[in-house]
């Protein structure tokens, strides 16, 4: 019984209420970091960590937190975890920290984190909140990677550019789709990803949340 509920929470957060193609949240970071796979992966890991930890903390404190200041408390908690990610990257992965620059700090502005804290963690127990955070983060990550891979291949002709495992997929002589690494390319790919995912998931439009 407990297992099926966990599965339901996971599947709902991961796919049925996917933050990107259903709720259309976290779009700033989606547009900004998806021109390179490596940056996308680090942003995904950072977001999953902050999402899981903030969900767990908000859930732990849910019976103690006065309702009138709950959003201040959530912002405080999220900001603290984002600073932890920033410090850890600076100390242990300085190259990645330098490459991501301001984007790490911008995790705090990602509406998905605040959204899950407010909509789920503030009203549920710790374990379901952990699962919800993890699944939302994974749902965000999968969609971001689905956007990042074609953008990097078409824009740079590479996979994992900027890492020791970089592979040149398209010959250097190929004309690169420069627009793919620019902001308009991100909009095109995001729209395409949303269209495909909604079409695949079925019932396109039925579950629209109307959020921005």
């Amino acid at each position: 019984m407990a297992k099926s509920r966990t599965q339901k929470i996971f599947w709902t957060a991961f796919w049925e209420d996917n933050p990107i193609f259903r709720q259309v949240l976290g779009i700033c970071s989606t547009l900004a970091v998806t021109n390179l796979i490596v940056n996308t992966v680090v942003m995904d890991l950072g977001l999953i960590f902050v999402l899981v930890m903030s969900n767990v903390t908000v859930s732990l404190l849910r019976n103690l937190t006065p309702r009138r200041i709950r959003m201040m408390v959530q912002v405080l908690i999220i900001a603290a975890y984002v600073i932890i990610v920033d410090l850890v990257l600076k100390a242990y992965l300085p190259d990645i920290s330098k490459a991501l620059g301001a984007y790490v700090g911008l995790i705090i502005t990602n509406c998905i984190i605040m959204g899950r804290a407010e909509a789920f963690a503030s009203a549920n127990k710790v374990y379901p909140s952990l699962i919800d955070g993890l699944a939302s983060g994974l749902g965000y990550s999968v969609l971001l990677l689905a956007i990042a891979v074609p953008r990097e291949i078409l824009g740079f002709g590479t996979i994992l550019r900027g890492t020791p495992w970089a592979v040149q997929l398209l010959p250097e002589s190929t004309t690169k789709w420069v627009i793919m690494v620019m902001a308009p390319g991100a909009f095109f790919m995001l729209a395409l990803a949303i269209w495909i995912a909604r079409g695949w998931a079925g019932g396109a439009g039925e579950k629209d949340k109307g959020t921005g």
Binding site: A32, V33, N35, L36, N39, L61, L64, T65, P66, R68, I69, M72, V73, L76, I77, A80, I83, I84, L87, V88, K90, A91, Y92, P94, K98, A99, L100, G101, A102, Y103, G155, F156, V178, I179, V181, M182
Partner: protein, 241 residues
């Protein structure tokens, strides 16, 4: 009214939670401070070695290796304001002295200057860009560039850091803009003209509006202090002998 619903509790709760997280963050900050400082020092030293092309930086390179190399082959120089006029020194300015400029010289084993480096930087698209640029002993012919700090868009403006783009600087001229300005031209159009450098398509704000402007300002400063720095670097080499 229950305690949890009282305003006093809200204030106290927020204060305690803030204090708790401030404590946690302080502890993490303290425990990572040395490592972050070491990383920053390593990055600064690596950039200096990289801009002079004295050694290849590999994952095995340690901070100690870089420090020894810098000690043996690189001299640091400052232009300071003393009694109302600029003076060149190889001593780091202290007390009330104001540093007007800083540059470096790399020497070969015989003590001859093989290159100079000076700071470059200015306004980028998202924030300040800073780096070092090395020139041949003639003071004009660019060897390479090493960017130390920027917040440009990964995959776009941040491509100024890629080796392929840095290589485009080689052989260009860091001339005094009063004589000849360096112009940023559309990607692929620079050809052999030593006064032109390619932009990065898609990063116009970083390369044309940013780099294209600040490099010429940096070159003007460099040429203003070059005669003093050249003399200073040569005297330091003679004193070393």
């Amino acid at each position: 009214m229950s305690l949890v619903k009282s305003r006093f509790f809200s204030v106290l709760y927020m204060f305690l939670l803030g204090a708790f997280f401030a404590g946690v963050l302080s502890a993490i900050r303290v425990s990572t401070a040395d490592r972050i400082e070491d990383n920053q020092k390593f990055a600064e030293s690596a950039n200096l070695v990289r801009v002079f092309e004295l050694a290849r930086i590999t994952p095995e390179t340690t901070g100690g290796d870089l420090a020894r190399l810098i000690q043996a082959r690189i001299g640091s120089f400052w232009i300071v304001q003393r009694q109302g006029r600029p003076v060149c020194t190889d001593k780091e300015p202290g007390g009330l002295e104001t540093a007007l400029y800083r540059a470096w010289a790399a020497y070969d084993e015989s003590g001859a200057v093989i290159a100079y480096a000076f700071p470059i930087g200015g306004k980028g698209f998202w924030g300040p860009i800073a780096g070092l640029l090395s020139v041949e002993p003639d003071g004009e012919t660019i060897r390479t560039v090493a960017w130390t700090r920027h917040t440009e868009t990964p995959g776009l403006g941040a491509r100024i850091e890629e080796d392929a783009y840095r290589e485009k600087f080689r052989g260009r001229l860091a001339s005094d803009p009063a004589d000849h300005r360096l112009t940023v031209v559309p990607e692929g159009a620079m050809g052999d003209d030593p006064h032109k450098i390619d932009q990065i398509t898609g990063a116009t704000q970083t390369t044309v509006a940013g780099m294209g402007v600040f490099l010429n300002e940096n070159f003007a400063d460099w040429h203003r202090f070059l005669p003093m720095l050249r003399q200073c670097a040569q005297s330091a080499a003679s004193a070393e002998k």
